[in-house]
Symmetry: C2
């Protein structure tokens, strides 16, 4: 392993300075959504997520690794293989302290990367897509992207005002699903509506006061499910364009409500059940 | 409002010292599960959660409040009413700094309480219950308790090794559902199994490799759904006692999997759908 490091890093020791220009830039990409979007970059941490990102054709600009990353069995081997295929000037051998500075996690796996984000393309003829309207919690957004991928949805759209689907917390909650399904942030609602009209998708809004039960709607029809903001629910604009508002019937105690990610998941998998059962 | 504070607190100013014995004890209850369980106490923060806890007959030992708590419209009025019914020696008027020290949140609502926890009772003849087997993430545990209450389950059991359902993070994720449905922590699996056998509940385990699809099982039968640990899934012991292992079919890409709380939610609401549709 030491030999490997020597070969890749031309014999030099690990970087230890937080003032290193590449470390400073990576921190900016990690912490600042505007920098990420302006430069078309993402910051990814952890062996599995970095491998997923690269497999999905996001191009590594710089990959940081520590000794720890190489000792992780099967994944460590895949990581060594990845590193050995990258140009030497894109690989930075780092101290554990630098890695911790970069990732804000204590139990990080010793790998992080800044990657050029591959542009996602909205599918031409989808039969099920998810749209998130001003969903602001990164955990909910990541969980819903992961769930949409699991339920066989073809894309996830996000309106302006939603959490960044490619922020670090969102990537963690998404477990890399962002790299397996097209994820399209920063849309105006009117453009999402046009997209769905042009493709013949019915606009179905999850809404606690919706008058159709979520399992009574016919999800075999080409559909876009819209999930609204955690606290306020779907916006007026979204409700106005809805073809149907579906609600999940809850136990009698009216104090109950559902987390936005849970509500989205229950409906997406009801859609999937109907599509399988026929 | 100032008059109200004067009457309740006998004219004295707010407590400002972290060394105050009641502040110190409340911090211990907040931060230490063993203290909570040994003394039968819970620590609750936020107007809505405190009101829910009291409404569910958890007895306030001490309630801390700041000026901020009284200015919250409808809820503020409910809080004033609660405070005025408590013995004066159970109410502590606190500075904002003390409240922040107590709750670890910057945007707290100015109310926190230590309460004697009402003992939960396992229902005698339930038709749907949820059991969590070493589920360690407080967010997942809280979300599943909230979801179980929403889906009309009659209780939530947790094995030893699961997150504390009455820790602050879990209470927040549960949105107070812990006070509306019996929640029973620290069970041995063998006791959960006996409980379900004695009541004629089928033991249905959520398991990614289960050979029955979650919607093919007949959830109109009295059932206990078991959700296992986030990373490892259900334990050998649980699998051995299962009457049926159900899995949620996922989109073809085998990289997909579901968050434990999402998987539990999808199955609980499929059970509820079948029970409504008949």
């Amino acid at each position: 392993m030491l030999n490997f490091v020597k070969v890749v890093c031309c014999g030099s020791g690990p970087i230890t300075s937080k003032a290193n220009s590449r470390v400073k830039h990576a921190r900016k990409v990690l912490t600042n959504r505007r920098v990420r979007e302006r430069e078309g970059l993402i910051f990814v941490e952890g062996i599995r997520l970095v491998l997923d990102a690269v497999a999905a054709k996001n191009e590594p600009e710089v990959l940081f690794f520590t000794d720890r990353a190489m000792s992780k069995g099967e994944y460590g081997a895949a990581m060594q293989k990845l590193i050995s295929t990258l140009p030497h000037d894109r690989v930075v051998y780092s101290s554990e302290e630098i890695m911790q500075h970069l990732t804000d996690t204590e139990n990080c796996q010793g790998v992080a990367a800044v990657l050029k984000k591959k542009q996602a393309i909205a599918p031409a003829q989808p039969s099920l897509v998810l749209a998130l309207d001003r969903l602001s919690d990164p955990g909910n957004v990541g969980t819903l992207i992961r769930t949409a991928a699991g339920a066989g949805a073809h894309a996830v759209f996000l309106t302006k005002g939603s959490a960044d689907p490619f922020g670090l917390k969102t990537l963690r909650a998404g477990m890399g699903a962002q790299f397996r399904i097209p994820v399209l942030p920063n849309w105006e609602w009117s453009d999402i509506e046009s997209y769905s009209r042009e493709r013949g998708l019915a606009l179905i809004v999850a809404d606690g006061s919706g008058d159709v039960r979520h399992y009574s709607y016919d999800w075999k029809e080409p559909s876009m499910l819209v999930v609204g903001a955690e606290a306020d629910g779907p916006s007026e604009e979204v409700l106005k364009s809805a073809d149907c508002c579906v609600s999940i019937p809850l136990a009698e105690d009216s104090a109950e409500s559902l987390n936005a990610a849970v509500a989205g998941a229950v409906i997406l998998f009801e859609a999937q059940r109907q599509r399988i059962v026929g």
